[in-house]
Symmetry: C2
């Protein structure tokens, strides 16, 4: 069974580094002439998958928008996840789950178990309770050929004080919180050309502000929000991520989704080509 | 409309400080002679609500166990939440959601909006992206008479390095991450006898290790995991939380749930009485 890292490398080689963020904002539903209902979200997600198929290799549904509609929203989500996986897309559930013990195990079971209703290829995780608290889903990911992305340095400015705080104890003491997570994930991926546990580092942040060593990202996939509406431009990706640029998944949501259901495919292709040129330069 | 803090104070006065954690661990489902299915979880949750009703004032369903079963699990959860609220229990959804902008707004909408399928009285939140990133659900809570609990110092040992890291910037610089969150929440609750934004501080941690000032918790509800199976005892609650003891919600899960569906009510009553004695002493 190929690992998630191996499957991600294949996706990079075949379809490039752009990921479509399936973000069913109420304003986009309206623009796409859909209702803000579970049924509207289902249609939105299925059309987004259709547009992404054959153009990008990765999609990232934002689960919060489905959760607004409770169990009916989750039923719509199941259909969207199934369609995306059937289309051969790598699916990253943006759920930002974090907890401890049997509870975080349950979240891992929900998203990273073959055959489960919400099965995806990878999920996002939050390590406020320590990277060690995430051992359950990280072990499960490895066993099942699945992946995970742990939030490190995110793209929003309110995050900076917490993520740049300095650890006083533990194996990463004197590192910032974000750099400590990068170090712990590096150790998990050691030995793999591209590992199965990634980190989230926003395209709007500076590595230096957190003391993050790009050399420790050599085997680590990087999920990168911040492009498009949040201000970063794809052409700058090689400068922003330096030696780690080839491991970056560049997420695009609103900035391409606003092209509408008929324009989305073309908008995505344009971005894929632009990023490929930038990475080849 | 009474605020969440006012409703919590009423619950404390009427039924004491114990909260039943509705934790549908697979091993408990088996012990309760239920299947590990959405239907089994529905029955587990409804029986737990029945046992809690009239004995405690607060329940805290752990959402992860429902999420394992996808949309069917969420449909079961909706029934459990509805039954709990109909029984007059304050319901805290333990979801530990955290994100930014319109995404965290969507989570707040899902759980803290009157009439939404997953409506509860309060939800748990994670501030890895900064307390400022949680403004959406915190504002929504205030507007709707709802509440929230932000993780500060949790009960698991792997959490200590991150939560004791020292902030280098921002209004709380030089505080630890956990103490900074306590300070920010204190400012939000200022002026209320008991505020509507709480923090999570485990019963297994020492305030001194994080530099948390108990005086800044005078108006802040404290959700306290760590009692029972995790090792802390209810009789020690006044010593553990000091001047903030009267604001504590003492969560009990496995340690009472293992009494089985018929023994749960009696086990809960025993703990309620024990804690009332300890707080009165």
């Amino acid at each position: 069974m190929p690992s998630f890292g191996e499957r991600l490398a294949t996706a990079f080689n075949g379809r490039g580094h752009v990921c479509l963020g399936i973000d069913a904002h109420p304003f986009l539903l309206e623009q796409w002439a859909l209702t803000d209902t579970a049924e509207g979200l289902r249609t939105f997600g299925l059309r987004a998958v259709e547009a992404a198929s054959g153009v990008v290799g990765i999609v990232k549904p934002q689960i919060a928008f489905f959760e607004r509609h409770g169990s009916a929203g989750y039923a719509a989500l199941e259909d969207v996840l199934g369609a995306a996986r059937a289309a051969g897309l790598l699916v990253i559930a943006d759920v930002k789950r974090g907890d401890i013990g049997s509870t975080i195990d349950a979240y891992g079971e929900a998203w990273l178990t073959p055959g489960s209703p919400l099965e995806v290829d990878a999920m996002t995780l939050v390590a406020y309770q320590g990277v060690g608290s995430l051992a359950g889903p990280l072990d499960r990911a490895r066993a099942n050929g699945k992946g995970a992305f742990v939030l490190a340095a995110t793209s929003n400015s309110e995050a900076f004080p917490v993520q740049s705080a300095v650890l006083q104890t533990g194996a990463q003491h004197r590192s910032t919180v974000a750099a400590g997570i990068v170090e712990e994930v590096h150790a998990i991926n050691a030995g793999d050309p591209l590992g199965s546990v990634g980190v989230v580092i926003g395209a709007t942040v500076s590595f230096d502000d957190y003391g993050i060593d790009q050399g420790l990202l050599a085997s680590t996939p990087i999920l990168a929000p911040g492009f498009g509406e949040q201000g970063a431009v794809l052409a700058s990706l090689p400068q922003l991520y330096g030696t780690a640029a080839d491991n970056v998944i560049a997420n695009l949501g609103r900035s391409v989704l606003k092209a509408g259901p008929d324009g989305l495919r073309g908008a995505l292709q344009h971005e894929v080509d632009e990023l490929a040129r930038a990475l080849a330069a």
